[in-house]
């Protein structure tokens, strides 16, 4: 595994995400990516997509194309975590924004 891949897996672990088995397969990546893409689409419906999520998705696709599935899966899981954080933000803001209005 490259040092880059190690960094990603380490990052995912540090971020409290579940670390996949060391030798992730394409189907594992596909599942992780589909979950991330679905969460990001939901964030889009709520008008709150984050650029780091998009960057993680793009990097995941790139890694998968080069058959580095460990790295690709870790990136997809990070993208999903980011997308879910953006969904939480958008849902909270549906009512919270009014508290910030100048009165």
């Amino acid at each position: 595994m490259s040092r880059r891949a190690l960094a990603v897996v380490a990052a995912a672990g540090l971020a409290g995400l579940s670390c996949g088995a060391l030798a992730a397969t394409q189907s594992e990546f596909d599942a992780a990516y589909a979950a991330a893409a679905q969460a990001e689409a939901q964030a889009g419906a709520l008008h709150d997509q984050w650029s780091p999520t998009e960057a993680a998705l793009k990097a995941a696709r790139q890694a998968a194309e080069e058959k580095r599935y460990d790295e690709a899966s870790a990136l997809a899981r990070r993208a999903e975590a980011l997308a879910k954080a953006s969904i939480s933000q958008a849902q909270a803001q549906q009512s919270l924004w009014r508290e910030a209005v100048v009165k």
Binding site: R3, R4, L6, A7, V8, A10, A11, L14, A15, G16, P52, A55, A56, A59, L75, R78, A81, L82, A85, Q89, L96, E99, A100
Partner: protein
Amino acid sequence: MRGALPMIALAALGLPLLAPLSSRAEPAMPGQAVAFDRSKGNCLACHTMKGGDVPSNVGPELADMKARFPDRKELYAIIFDEERRNPQTVMPPFGRDLILTPQEINEIVDFLYTL
């Protein structure tokens, strides 16, 4: 060159890099590097603090941290998600929004306690 691009991409994602910042002198504490890095803590954007040379005042000056925040958990919580404590804060929720890892937040707390 080919290896450099993915590294930049990772930095843009806010993922920690294993490679040290080679071109700069090693900072006294890892937390200082994380705190001052614009793609990480970027603390100097809003706070004045020792070691930074900008007069930002969006947030309070960071000094005497041990006296002001004797409870380490409180300081950690402020960095993790200050909005939970103060809904109108302008401080980003570094932990909640996955800007920093828990380890990086702990390193920043270590560094803040030297101020």
